[in-house]
């Protein structure tokens, strides 16, 4: 037996007294009210501590995702909010940070390696192996062709100036460190990050 009652009417009934709330217990619950007794949507979410990726205040954020973390189960981020414990942000986020979820799930996110051939007006999807092999070959060929071991004065310089690299100040310290370690030891000097601009 189902009585059609809207959610709003149901709560009115609830406010009217014990009699009506016991009606609900007896099975007179409206369809929409069933949703209201559903578990809080964050209860089964995985909570992950993180920091906002935009400016340098470094506000604390809590990221909520679905998925049990087991192998081959994709986690899906569905909610991001401020971390109330954070001593600087104390749970607040600004208009930028409030939109973090739309950045994570942006339709502009890249999903596959792609190559645009010389003169072409479109992308072609390639595998990671194909993309990385191609890049490694480009690096080696140019380095071997243009690496300078000694300058005109006979001094050792061991540098390579014909390929350059811009690193990302939105990436982690660990990504920055490994990038520096690799790039510098190829002999590269045309190397900067956003701090330059």
């Amino acid at each position: 037996m189902t009585v059609n009652v809207t959610r709003r009417q149901f709560f009115k009934l609830g406010a009217a007294g014990v009699a009506s709330s016991s009606m609900a217990m007896m099975g007179f619950a409206p369809e929409s009210a069933e949703a209201s007794v559903r578990h809080f949507k964050l209860t089964h979410a995985k909570e992950t501590r993180n920091n906002c990726t935009y400016c340098s205040v470094g506000c604390g954020v809590l990221i909520y995702s679905h998925g049990d973390g087991s192998k081959n189960v994709r986690q899906e981020v569905f909610h991001i909010e401020g971390d109330p414990d954070h001593p600087v942000s104390r749970g607040s986020l600004c208009p930028k940070g409030s939109g973090l979820l739309d950045f994570v799930r942006s339709e502009g996110r890249l999903e596959y390696p792609q190559v645009r051939a010389p003169g072409s007006s479109e992308w072609k999807r390639v595998s990671w192996d194909e993309a990385l092999d191609k890049i490694a070959r480009y690096i080696k060929d140019d380095r071997d062709a243009n690496f300078v071991e000694r300058d005109d004065n006979g001094g050792t310089v061991n540098h390579w100036t014909t390929t350059g690299f811009l690193a990302a100040s939105g990436s982690s310290n660990e990504a920055g460190y490994i990038t520096h370690k690799v790039v510098r030891n190829l002999g590269m000097v045309a190397f900067d990050n956003q701090a330059r601009v």
Binding site: P113, G119, N173, Q194
Partner: protein
């Protein structure tokens, strides 16, 4: 930041200049609000526009863009002539008393040693203290000697009187007088002003010197090292501080060490030059330990291959044949077709670099371009025609472009360093979309492939590649934990103290850079990050937000470099005898009972150095004191001087009207071709400045629907007077052009912009937000760097995005 976000609440006065933190760092700005509400602090806001920060300021004034040195130099003049300085601080904690060499001079805008042919100060030898026979600088504690720094500074800024300042800055006298007199009140020892700035100071051809002028003001007022004081750079990106600390800049190594130049062939001379010895007797001069940090880096990179016999692989590091291979140099060479390949890792230079046309032409001359990014950036599609927004012919562009999808912050583990130097650890919440991979893995995969090619085929100078230490569990994907422990550093053998007791077992993580040695017994990839991941675990992941002294200093939250110190130079928060300058400013002080420095912060000082020894608080400086006189550390002069922007709306530098060499920064960074691309004020009469909006972050958030909804369409801001002059009303489309390109945008006509009276005429400003482009979910717009000039700051090479000239007309 010398201080940190929460510490702003300890300020009695806040000067916001060269930034608009209410708009760009809103959550950090809450601590400004906190200071106003609970510490009775006054907020002063000076900007070319009436900004959101101005809207809540107690005192506000408009200033012509690019004239901040004039305003601050005038303030220095005012503080000195009215004797509103923190005298004991100035005498003991600054170089005011040191004597400068007799041959140092400054004439009509030019310092000694200038070579006009090279546009540079080729001979900086006179920019130095006079040294005694013992090698230490001479000083006059009475501050009366005509060549002491104090007197030279007084004389240098005597030209910056209030009428001159008013005329150059376009600021009415009464505004200036009022603000200066308010700031002067902060000279008392127990009150502090903090200064907050951002790219509104850095993006000028005189940017570094603007910041120096501010630091000089803070030294005069005794505000450096104080809670609620300091010079606080509010940095742009979430980890721009970290990447700077890690040295990802053309001339640097991690931890602010630097590459050798080609003339530095001798290893010990290289070290000696950087291991600065004290130039006042008994000072700490902490950089004297340079070799310990350098050798530890080399052990981290090359392991057993780095030995004393091969100078720790000194020759394996690239040496510089010219001072800079920065982005201005790189795009100049790219434009000439001298580059083969280019990598953009999370960087969108087509949108971010000056003179977009030059960037497009440069990228078109590459053989290959690799883009690693979470987003579909404009740079990755520079070859694709988007009509007027990107008017290119794909068939004519022969660059092969390889685009690799990366994960974003929500999908990787690691630390980022905020503006306050806090390294905060974060965890991945999910995998990236599709086949996206973390940057750490991409670099690992690439390196392994390159190393394999060198192993199989041989090649030019393979030594640093074949010997690069790569002891990661999964070589193709080094983990963030492994990398963090590597930059923290570890002991390679048992370390012992003077008595032979083992202080650190081989293989253990170091607790601090103070454990490092110059003989190859320790390794560390970034000495200033040492202490971030110790034997006690990951210090960056700590979450204790307690504040036992009530100063807002949460030493148990995350970890700050160096050594978890939260306020740099904090020894200066106590007087010469080690007592706090004021009860309410007690922060770090000397405890004679304990025989050590104690307080709310980790002392930025040798912890048992008795005040009676008189060591100065600025331990990284060879004199132990703060610098009014920059010596040889800047390329464009030991005292900041006002020079006009390279594109200026006025004809000469009012301070040096008859010396064309001194119109713009004589050592500013500009190439001949780019100089030809500068416009004239007759053709482009309006001063332009660029900025960010609170709803957007650079060129990222136009990809995020929420942000695109709240701020969907490109606009520029102009005053009612300018709107009337060019015949537009609010909502009309305008065309804004410079000598390099144009954009079209909706005109927002507002009282927030006002014409300023400069000399005998009005100068209009145009405000240009930066956030639109031709990819993303927001409405398409024009990359505003179509307009900007390729001119760099003399010291940092940061482009002059905040001051250039344009013409506004009805579209």
């Amino acid at each position: 930041m010398t201080n940190h976000w929460v510490d702003i609440r300890n300020a009695n006065m806040i000067l916001s200049m060269g930034g608009n933190s209410a708009e760009a760092h809103p959550v950090g700005f809450r601590w400004v609000t906190e200071a106003i509400e609970h510490n009775k602090a006054k907020l002063i806001c000076i900007d070319p526009r009436y900004t959101r920060t101005c809207a809540v300021a107690d005192y506000k004034a408009f200033i012509r863009t690019g004239t901040d040195i004039t305003f601050l130099g005038g303030l220095i003049h005012y503080l000195i002539t009215t004797d509103q300085i923190q005298r004991e601080y100035v005498l003991h904690y600054t170089d005011a008393s040191l004597l400068v060499r007799e041959d140092y001079g400054f004439e009509d805008g030019i310092f000694t040693g200038y070579n006009p042919d090279n546009h540079s100060y080729d001979d900086k030898s006179s920019w130095m203290y006079e040294l005694g026979d013992d090698g230490y600088a001479l000083r006059d504690m009475s501050l009366q000697h005509p060549r002491c720094v104090y007197q030279l500074m007084r004389e240098h800024y005597s030209r910056y009187d209030i009428d001159t300042v008013s005329s150059i800055c376009g600021m009415p006298r009464e505004h200036i007088e009022h603000i200066w007199s308010e700031i002067g009140k902060m000279a008392v020892p127990h009150q502090t002003m903090t200064i907050l700035y951002a790219l509104g100071w850095t993006q000028h051809s005189i940017g570094s010197q603007i910041i120096r002028t501010a630091a000089m003001v803070q030294l005069l007022l005794g505000n450096m090292g104080m809670p609620g004081g300091g010079i606080n750079a509010l940095r742009g990106h979430s980890n721009i501080q970290g990447l700077t600390d890690l040295g990802l800049l053309s001339q640097l190594l991690p931890g602010y060490m630097s590459l050798a130049n080609a003339k530095e062939q001798d290893y010990s001379a290289y070290i000696q030059k950087r291991a600065k010895q004290p130039i006042l007797e008994g000072e700490v001069s902490y950089w004297k330990n340079y070799e310990k940090f350098h050798v530890s880096l080399m052990k981290s990179w090359f392991g057993d291959a780095a030995t004393e016999d091969n100078n720790w692989c000194f020759d394996w590091l690239p040496k510089l044949s010219k001072p800079l291979y920065d982005v201005l140099d790189t795009f100049e060479r790219m434009h000439k077709g001298e580059l083969t390949g280019y990598f953009c890792q999370g960087f969108n230079p087509l949108a971010s670099f000056p003179n977009r046309q030059k960037v497009t032409e440069g990228l078109s001359r590459l053989k290959y371009l690799v883009v690693m990014d979470p987003l579909n950036t404009e740079t990755s599609e520079f070859w694709k025609n988007y009509g007027e927004y990107n008017d290119v012919d794909s068939s004519q562009i022969q660059t092969e472009v390889i685009r690799l999808p990366t994960t974003c912050f929500a999908e990787d583990d690691g630390s980022i360093t905020n503006s306050a130097r806090w390294l905060q650890w974060h965890w991945a919440a999910a995998q990236g979309p599709g086949e996206a991979r973390p940057d750490t893995r991409i670099m690992g995969e690439l390196f392994i492939r390159i190393r394999d090619l060198y192993r199989e085929e041989g090649g030019v100078f393979p030594d640093p590649i074949l010997n690069l230490d790569w002891d990661y569990d999964i070589p193709e994907a080094p983990s963030s934990e492994e990398l963090a422990q590597e930059y923290n550093g570890r002991a390679l053998v048992d370390l012992t103290d003077d008595n032979g007791n083992v202080t650190r077992r081989a293989g253990e993580l170091l607790s601090s850079f103070s454990e490092m040695t110059a003989d190859g017994r320790t390794a560390s990839g970034c000495w200033i990050f040492s202490g971030a991941w110790t034997q006690d675990g990951n210090q960056m992941a700590r979450r204790d937000n307690s504040d036992p002294y009530g100063t807002g200093n949460t030493l148990g939250w995350a970890w700050a470099w160096p050594a978890n110190r939260r306020v740099l130079y904090n020894r200066a928060s106590a007087d010469t005898q080690g007592r706090p300058w004021g009860k309410e400013k007690a922060f770090v002080w000397w405890s004679s009972e304990q025989g050590r420095w104690v307080g709310a912060d980790i002392p930025d000082f040798p912890v048992t150095s008795d005040p009676a020894l008189g060591q100065g608080p600025f331990i990284m400086q060879p004199e132990g004191v703060g610098h009014f006189f920059a010596g040889q550390s800047m390329v464009d002069g030991p005292f900041p001087e006002h020079y006009e922007p390279f594109e200026s709306p006025i004809d000469n530098n009012p301070l040096h009207p008859n010396n064309p060499l001194a119109k713009n920064n004589p050592a500013g960074r500009i190439y001949d071709e780019d100089r030809k691309a500068l416009g004239t004020r007759e053709e482009f009469p309006h001063a332009a400045t660029t900025y960010r909006l609170t709803e957007h972050f650079h060129f990222w958030t136009k990809h995020a629907r929420l942000n695109a909804v709240v701020q969907p369409e490109q606009f520029v801001e102009i005053s009612h007077q300018l709107a009337e002059e060019v015949g537009v009303v609010a909502g009309d489309w305008v065309r804004v052009s410079s000598n390099r390109g144009f954009i079209k945008a909706v005109a927002v006509v507002t009282k927030r912009m006002q014409p300023l009276r400069i000399g005998d005429r009005d100068v209009h400003h145009v405000g240009i937000p930066i956030h639109w482009g031709f990819t993303g979910v927001a409405k398409k717009g024009y990359l505003i760097n179509a307009l900007t000039p390729v001119v760099g700051d003399a010291n940092t090479q940061t482009p002059e995005y905040k001051s250039f000239i344009v013409k506004v007309e009805k579209a």
